[in-house]
């Protein structure tokens, strides 16, 4: 693909070298324009009226007083939005404004558009909505026990949204034959993204009546599609521009009701319309980490080698589908990627509840089961008298192999990750030997580099990049990828620069604009570096061929002899014979006409062909190991993380500065989830319709680590290039979050002998454990029961080493295996 070559290691001319990010200057001068920074002439402002009830029928909406209020230009209600939408084709269950029912506190029922934001807010307060409260459902347990009233009329019956049951080999048989079987219950609390930028959007009409929406979104392409659907408008009449996101972390991946509302308002008023959500509204938009209850049963050989794993997960999905059909599958799909699991059974149940919908947050569905497995492995190691590091080292999944559930693994640098953090932390000398109150914990993980399947089924590229070169020497890269802070602009510029022998700062970027840039599915699932990066390499290589052809003719050598470096094109055998980059473009433009190239990328086909196999496949997987050192105060239960060592197999580092920042940010967010972050709700009295209100919908009370809580982080990059990555690179934005919570839990155990099988690991939980320990009980804090779920029959797939071909037993040949990523998500079997 590239002259620099797959499998190469170390820095290139541009890639691998530390660089200031290309968009940094705008960000330190305040010039970056976020969505809420846009002010257009004649702009109106929008406010939403949100439900105070968690579950109610809308009887009547009286908007007369609001319509008569000063400055009001437009009032919208559910009547104006007859067409449902949703990110997943299988769960089109949202309306921009609720029509007949509200399903969580904060569900929007009306919108007011006025000359000023204050007028809109004041008029919104005049709207009278008459509700008839319905029974509310607060938890998965309540959802399972309360089939009526149904929150939605689709799903698996009652208030169960999604059920899955996969059996890769005979797990019961393997467990019967295991030397030891370990069974544990774990709970991972929900948390929310808190991008520092609250969501905002501006809609306006072009002079010719075409609609433009600027929005803080990670997924302009999906917003484009859903706007066209919900507004019943041809997509080519709509332009979506993703403004730079002030943080996202998955929280700006759904098409949002407020985006559709301001778009409709702009169409109806003919004027620009802006909305900016308050922080409280952002808490109620949510789409964050699912709370997940897990039962994990693992059978091992006498030396601790896994022979079979049996995992059940129960997800609190909240009030809408969001990405939930995929989230449910992600609570199990990647459990086979870190260690070799010969046989695997996975059952998942996502329920609807009357709370803000859960969706994708950094790690999407994977941190929860990783927590379960990594804490349980620690218990297994203790029970068998083994070093937890050795227990892991002996069973790392083999590189370039298929897993039990037919995921294709590529390069795996986990061994070195573990070795580096073990050495760095002096693990072998210190674990189990530190004074009471101080401990070390280890955990590992793996993550995908882009979802292998799109949200909606199609055979088109997942990422496209166009390059324009002209006689000025300017190179412009057009990409649908969205800068959410992760540095995608810099990565794309660097890749193009590396191929063309120029500097990253020479490449002008136009991104995230559905009118100007080729389709990219969005900045989610850690996909941009790999997918847009590969597309950028292809586009740049094609441009390089054109330039080389023209330059070679001028220099009288064959194109193969030309090198592109230091902003020059020259003869490798006679470096003085050459020309500046801009001169090469002039020659090419003279010889070939206007210079433009394209590149596109689609992940390789999956080996998995059973229904529901759409979640999990990826072109490559990153690997991480972390050691956490923690102090636990036995008097208060307070956990202080003193230091973190983290090794990440990134394939190849494209910009070490950016990559390190992603690791440190992941550690930070992982520590927040491990120790303090909670998206939790409380039920108000029945006279307040048993409203399920957020306990702490403000940054004052929703605890997140500050600069004072953040410990020192020692980061090691392991460069195990993957043939599918651009220059061998793999993801770094999400994987490093995954081992943090279990490593903290394991460190707490090492410190004070208390097992906290749930996150967040609060001082209260630690104290409860210490009290139990003092009373001579097993010191464990965590869930005690897993409710009965009516699982469907298993979809049985023989693992590759048992003769399986990726299809399910009894499956008819065809397209079934493509399900799961979105379009074809289906139940995995009939109900028993």
């Amino acid at each position: 693909m590239s002259g620099d070559g797959q499998g190469a290691r170390g820095p290139g001319r541009v890639i691998g070298r530390p660089r200031r990010r290309v968009d940094g200057r705008a960000k330190v001068t305040g010039q970056t324009l976020f969505a809420d920074d846009l002010f257009l002439p004649r702009m109106l402002f929008c406010k939403l009226v949100r439900s105070p009830h968690p579950h109610a029928r809308i009887v009547a909406v009286d908007t007369a007083a609001a319509r008569a209020a000063p400055g009001v230009k437009l009032v919208l209600t559910g009547e104006d939005f007859p067409i449902p939408y949703g990110i997943m084709p299988v769960s089109q269950d949202e309306h921009a404004l609720c029509r007949d029912r509200v399903r969580h506190v904060g569900d929007p029922v009306a919108a007011v558009v006025a000359a000023t934001e204050r007028q809109a807010a004041e008029a919104a307060g005049l709207i009278r909505v008459q509700y008839e409260p319905l029974t509310t459902i607060a938890s998965p347990e309540e959802a399972l026990a309360t089939p009526e009233p149904r929150i939605h009329d689709y799903g698996e019956g009652g208030n169960v949204h999604r059920l899955a049951h996969f059996a890769f080999g005979d797990v019961d048989e393997a467990l019967r034959g295991a030397d030891r079987v370990f069974e544990d219950l774990f709970f991972y609390e929900g948390s929310t993204h808190i991008p520092l930028e609250q969501h905002a959007a501006v809609a306006a009409l072009d002079p010719d009546g075409r609609l433009t929406l600027w929005s803080s979104t990670q997924t302009p392409h999906y917003v484009h599609r859903e706007l066209a659907r919900a507004l019943d408008m041809p997509a080519h009449r709509i332009r979506v521009i993703a403004t730079p996101n002030g943080g996202a972390f998955g929280g700006k991946s759904d098409p949002f009701n407020h985006e559709i509302v301001v778009a409709k308002a702009a169409l109806l008023t003919g004027r620009p319309v802006k909305i900016g959500l308050t922080r409280e509204e952002v808490f109620y938009c949510h789409r964050g980490r699912h709370p997940v209850l897990m039962r994990l049963k693992t059978g091992v050989k006498p030396d601790g080698t896994i022979v079979a794993m049996d995992l059940e997960t129960l997800l609190d999905g909240g009030a809408y589908g969001s990405y939930g059909a995929a989230s449910a599958l992600y609570t199990g799909a990647l459990q086979t990627v870190t260690y070799h699991v010969p046989r695997y059974r996975f059952r998942a149940c996502r329920t609807f509840t009357n709370k803000p919908p859960c969706g994708p947050k950094r790690g999407h569905g994977t941190p929860q089961p990783r927590f379960a497995q990594e804490v349980q492995l620690d218990k297994i190691a203790v029970a068998l008298g083994k070093d937890p590091a050795d227990l892991r080292l002996q069973q790392i999944a083999p590189a370039h192999s298929l897993t039990a559930n037919f995921l294709k693994l590529g390069s795996i640098g986990l061994r070195e990750c573990i070795e580096r953090v073990v050495d760095g932390s002096a693990w072998r000398a210190r674990r189990g030997k530190l004074p009471f109150g101080r401990g070390l914990g280890l955990a590992c993980s793996s993550y995908l580099c882009g979802a292998g399947l799109p949200i909606y089924w199609n055979d088109m590229p997942h990422s496209g990049v166009q390059l324009k070169l002209d006689r000025s020497g300017a190179v412009t890269a057009f990409s649908g990828a969205t800068e959410i802070g992760q540095g995608s602009d810099d990565v794309l510029a660097a890749i193009v620069a590396e191929v063309l022998g120029i500097e990253a700062s020479d490449v002008k970027l136009v991104t995230g604009d559905t009118d100007l840039t080729p389709v990219d599915l969005g900045s989610y699932s850690s996909r941009v570096t790999l997918m847009a990066g590969n597309a950028a390499i292809q586009a740049a290589e094609r441009a390089k061929v054109m330039l080389a052809q023209a330059a070679a003719e001028k220099l009288g050598v064959s194109p193969e002899r030309l090198a592109f470096a230091d902003r020059r094109v020259f003869d490798v055998e006679n470096p003085d014979a050459g020309m500046g980059f801009a001169d090469a473009v002039i020659l090419a433009e003279t010889k070939l006409g206007t210079i433009g190239t394209t590149g596109s990328y689609r992940p390789p086909a999956s080996a998995a062909r059973y229904r529901g196999a759409g979640v999990g496949p990826s072109a490559a997987y990153s690997y991480t190991a972390a050691v956490v050192e923690a102090d636990v105060d036995p008097a208060s239960g307070w956990v202080t993380v003193a230091k973190v060592w983290i090794g990440h197999d990134i394939g190849r580092v494209l910009n070490p500065v950016l990559a390190r920042g992603q690791v440190e940010g992941s550690v930070y967010m992982g520590l927040g989830e491990a120790l303090m972050e909670e998206q939790t709700f409380r039920r108000l009295p029945p006279r307040l319709s048993s409203a399920l209100v957020h306990k702490i919908p403000s940054l004052l009370e929703y605890k997140s680590p500050t600069s004072l809580e953040m410990p020192e982080v020692v980061t090691y990059f392991i460069e195990e290039p993957d043939a599918n990555g651009p220059f061998g690179a793999k993801e770094v934005g999400q994987g490093p979050l995954l081992p943090i919570a279990p490593a903290v839990a394991n460190a707490v155990y090492d410190a004070v002998g208390v097992r906290v099988d749930e996150v967040p690991i609060t001082p209260e939980a630690v104290l409860r454990g210490l009290e139990e320990r003092g009373e001579g009980h097993a010191a464990r804090v965590g869930p005690r029961a897993f409710p009965a779920v009516r699982w469907p029959d298993a979809l049985c797939v023989a693992p590759p080493w048992e003769g399986g071909d990726g299809t399910a037993v009894g499956q008819k040949p065809g397209r079934a295996g493509r399900g799961g990523g979105g379009g074809a998500v289906a139940t995995t079997g009939s109900r028993t």
């Binding site: 960000k27 330190v28 001068t29 440190e664 930070y668």
Partner: protein, 156 residues
Amino acid sequence: MAAHKIRVTVNGTLHEVEVESRLLLVHLLRDVLRLTGTHIGCDTTHCGACTVLLDGEAVKSCTVLAVQADGRQLMTVEGLEQDGRLHPIQEGFWQEHGLQCGFCTPGMLMTSYALLKRNPKPSETEIRQAISGNLCRCTGYVNIVKAVQYAAAKQQ
């Protein structure tokens, strides 16, 4: 709603504006003067994205009324760069990768600027204490500390 004529100097430029009593300083800056480098991230005075300097002192401009700025000097992120040259604190955040999404950055810059004015050689602990009222969800603060150290060294 009472209106007040106020005179505020922002980044060296005097502005005379008529404001309502309840107008917050952050809205004066963003909505009236269109200095959108100052951001709003929480509504509850916790995140610090709206931090500006009021007579040289770092304040969260979402908890200051515009009328309280009458007759006083304000400095925002737009005032750091002078004659096309970045201030060392800006250089530091860019050079040391003290930013990712950049949304908290203006507030971090102003808090750090005020810190270095009163304490040109802060220890790491002093830096961490100074910025503990400014939240960042991207960086884990590691490089923000380095960025402030870079600026401190450069200003010596």
